[in-house]
Symmetry: C2
Subunit: 263 residues, 2 copies
């Protein structure tokens, strides 16, 4: 059954916009909002529970199959006007397909550490575009599990979802309140924990052998890793630079470390 | 001699803002505009000719040495109010240091192809943040020469300059009207020219030996390389993906290819 929404002031529309813009509201509701045919389809195909679907008449024609598939799974479906779509859209030219989805219980999504695990841990990554880019790269190079410290930006932030190209939906992501403690535990278990530092005296990543499980730990864009996180790791690792020091941005450094772990 | 500028309508202020925002005006004037203590100092230290310096009283205190060094080299120096600085600033919190600089004659900045050259070529890169990120990474990993096709965004765009962290000033950059022709020439000279394609049937970068000069060629964010550019190259190269195909963004793909050429 498709409901018709005609007013921009409709509580459903307001609810969607609040989910898009407000991290605290997302957490309270256990929901997040996504926009665009591709991202909504990615969510569906990754088994993310779809709570509500909103679509325009135009979108129903253009993304025929996608809207139909989403409509089958969504608990509630609303048809909206172009005007409402413009209001709901976070992008300049919204495609007219929007969903609210249930957040996965990622905090309990324990990463199983086998002998050949390759994990990315991120501490206090602030920029949603960076976090999203790292998740996208992680998935591409074959990382299965990602650890986010509690100080990272919200992984359901629209910019994270967009930059990650849906990788958030498919990766095993663990939110960790106490990252140094977790790293100490992993180090104790014999996992190769590597603190990424822009320091020529640290161990070059090219000299490491990845013959056991390994975790690459990347710190905040401006300040790098905390002292506690570095001390909790087995080694300090660096990417040998031929140009000026500290010249790789956080997501590029993370990309090269992940690539090296898996190449 | 320091001139005092008091009006936001002053032609010098308008000139600066136009240089910041208008690529055609930059080209006509042979000048570009930069903002921020670090970037202005980078330009100076890289030997970029400083035409004008603008600074606030606050900045003269906070960035004492930098403002003094810039003032020594600038042809003209203007002290400006905080109000004017806010108007000139492209960022939310301008530091109060601004310069106009002469563009380098980059089109004639020929890359000398030796037997161990490692070059990045970019075709039709549209996003200034991507172009800037690639230049930053190129410098960090030790690339010396970069080729930009004429269809790339302007390398003096403020977002390119900022994302490149000044790498534009230090790299040898060649603007190329006819990239496929240039690539055919390089291929003919025995340079390993590699067209980056997201295609599992292409040659994995990890199976190539970099025992001669090499050029990695990266295409547009959405459309990839043109057919002409691909055909002009010796090999089609790809980054083996373990996750979903086409999941690396252009700057990350460029980063990994450059890293592999130089690791």
């Amino acid at each position: 059954m498709v409901f018709q929404l005609d007013s921009r002031e409709n509580p459903k529309v307001k609810h969607f916009i609040r989910l898009l813009n407000n991290g605290k509201y997302r957490e309270e509701q256990g929901l997040f909002a996504i926009e665009g045919a591709r991202l909504c389809m990615d969510a569906l195909q990754s088994g993310i529970p779809i709570a509500e679907l909103f679509y325009t008449e135009e979108a129903a024609k253009k993304y025929n199959t996608i809207v139909a598939d989403l409509g089958q799974k969504a608990l509630k479906t609303y048809q909206i006007s172009e005007g409402i779509a413009k209001k709901m859209g976070d992008t300049t030219h919204p495609q007219g397909v929007f969903c609210t989805c249930k957040t996965l219980d990622k905090p309990d999504d324990l990463v199983t550490i086998g002998t050949d695990s390759r994990i990315l841990a991120m501490e206090n990554i602030q920029d949603p575009a960076n976090l999203g880019a790292m998740l996208r790269t992680a998935e591409a190079v074959g990382i299965k599990g990602v650890i986010c410290s509690a100080g990272c930006c919200d992984m359901y932030h629209p910019k994270v979802l967009r930059a990650s190209m849906g990788a958030v939906f498919r990766l095993s992501v663990r939110l960790e309140e106490n990252l140094p403690k977790m790293l100490r535990g992993l180090t104790g278990m014999g996992v190769l924990t590597m603190a990424a530092v822009p320091d020529a005296s640290a161990c070059p990543v090219t000299s490491l052998r990845f013959d056991r499980s390994a975790v690459a730990v990347i710190g905040n864009e401006g300040n790098g890793l905390t002292k506690e996180a570095i001390e909790a790791c087995e080694v300090r690792v660096t990417i040998p630079m031929k140009g000026r020091a500290e010249s790789l941005n956080a997501s590029m450094a993370a990309g090269i470390l992940m690539w090296e772990m898996l190449r």
